[in-house]
Subunit: 261 residues, 2 copies
């Protein structure tokens, strides 16, 4: 591979990459993003993506990247002084490797719909973790409200560990309208007076699971739109499970029922 | 309540609080910690704790704390200028309220043992989330290896949302020796050749679930010590679930079996 050295903040490629890392709007306009680290790059390549640019921090040995280089013959390779690289790196402990990549549009899953609907998950790590749980469970689609963090942000990608490359994601959706159009069972994960014991539900048909954010929980409007409200029964001395743990328990209970019942 | 104003970094109480926030050793020596925010203070009071000191940032209105003040008549109340308060606050978005409290020793749960054993969970937020999941599921005990983050650190407390006040926790434990002494089924949550499908296990008897950290997974020695190795079967296109999601699915599957089988 041939590397181009960039040493100035005024370099137009540097500016473009910086913008992609920082601005959800720039990412949306270009349908591109920055991803961070070898693991995510591998996952992106495994999913059939072709990176446009790969950026190495000068302190990361070039020969560590030889295997990746063989898999991205078309990419432009850049090397940056560590200080400049750190300005691009979206995470606290940068790995020394970034890639500029186009969003992927994973093909829809076949089979009985199992959709996760997320309302206003603002923390990128939580959002990524919930997408990762969905992808691991074989969810067929993730639908995100306008109030959710950008699923293609570098931090959400890190939280997702590749989930965004394999799970179809619709972002910026009007959830009430979407739920009204879904032909199947919609279950909002929430506590409350009319909330049912989640384990009493038959989850084998077309299913939507709706999860809200940590602090506020689901909005009343979304709970109404879902029709059914249910909760994971707690056996312990505290009555709260964090949102991503509750989603994990719920979505894998659906997986379990579909396998064994 | 009578408040004392502290305005200097040289104040001995300020120094003591700062040390408690920063040093695991100081916390261990004193069996005290700092907790952050009204929600955790309420949870601590609900669990029967009696805070020693309550600290307010000057910008937080004193009258918001009147209800708490009634519940901690014995506490010393301090008010600090915001800049000084921020130096104590262990989290990025401080709530304006800190309390200096003694560790609690929750009474053991009765009933069939359901123990979570955690190996080398170094991230405080993850550790807190796993303890919270355990507490919500009615785990009877949490056992932490020496390589785990301090469960009484301010960040782990925030992640736990009160779990540490209700779930008995043993920290700094030699896990191999502990597992050897447990009379019941020990299941290590790990992938691998001999790993069994988690859903085929009967989880109704005395049970230990062993979870490892995100990057490295469980050590081979701990998997051997556990005897049984099992994994949550993935239905999706990615083969990894984060450690706290996997633990949540596993521990609530035990809860489900105990309720319904």
């Amino acid at each position: 591979m041939t590397e181009t050295a960039i040493t100035s903040r005024d370099n137009p490629i540097f500016k473009r990459l910086k913008k992609l890392g920082e601005s959800a709007r720039a990412r949306r306009d270009a349908h591109m993003t920055l991803l961070d680290g070898e693991h995510l790059l591998e996952a992106y390549l495994d999913a059939g993506g072709t990176p446009r640019t790969v950026v190495r921090a000068a302190s990361l040995a070039a020969d560590r990247l030889a295997a990746h280089a063989r898999r991205c013959p078309q990419a432009k390779w850049l090397v940056l002084p560590d200080a400049l690289f750190a300005e691009l790196a979206p995470v606290a402990t940068p790995t020394g490797l970034l890639a500029e990549v186009a969003w992927l549009a994973p093909s829809p899953f076949a089979g009985t719909p199992l959709v996760i609907v997320l309302e206003d998950i603002q923390d990128p790590g939580n959002l990524g973790a919930m997408l990762r749980t969905g992808a691991a469970a074989g969810a067929t689609l993730a639908v995100l409200s306008k109030g959710c963090h950008d699923p293609w942000s570098p931090k959400a990608l890190r939280g997702g560990q590749g989930a965004q490359f394999v799970l179809p994601v619709q972002a910026g959706v009007d959830l009430q309208a979407w739920l009204a159009g879904f032909d199947g069972q919609c279950v909002a994960l929430a506590l409350g007076e009319r909330s049912r014991d989640f384990y009493t539900l038959d989850l084998r048909g077309p299913l939507v699971l709706v999860a809200g954010n940590e602090g506020a929980g689901l909005s009343a409007a979304i709970c109404r739109a879902a029709g059914t409200c249910a909760h994971i029964p707690m056996a312990g001395r505290i009555e709260s499970l964090n949102a991503s743990a509750a989603l994990a328990v719920a979505v894998f209970e659906a997986v379990r029922q579909r396998r064994t019942r």
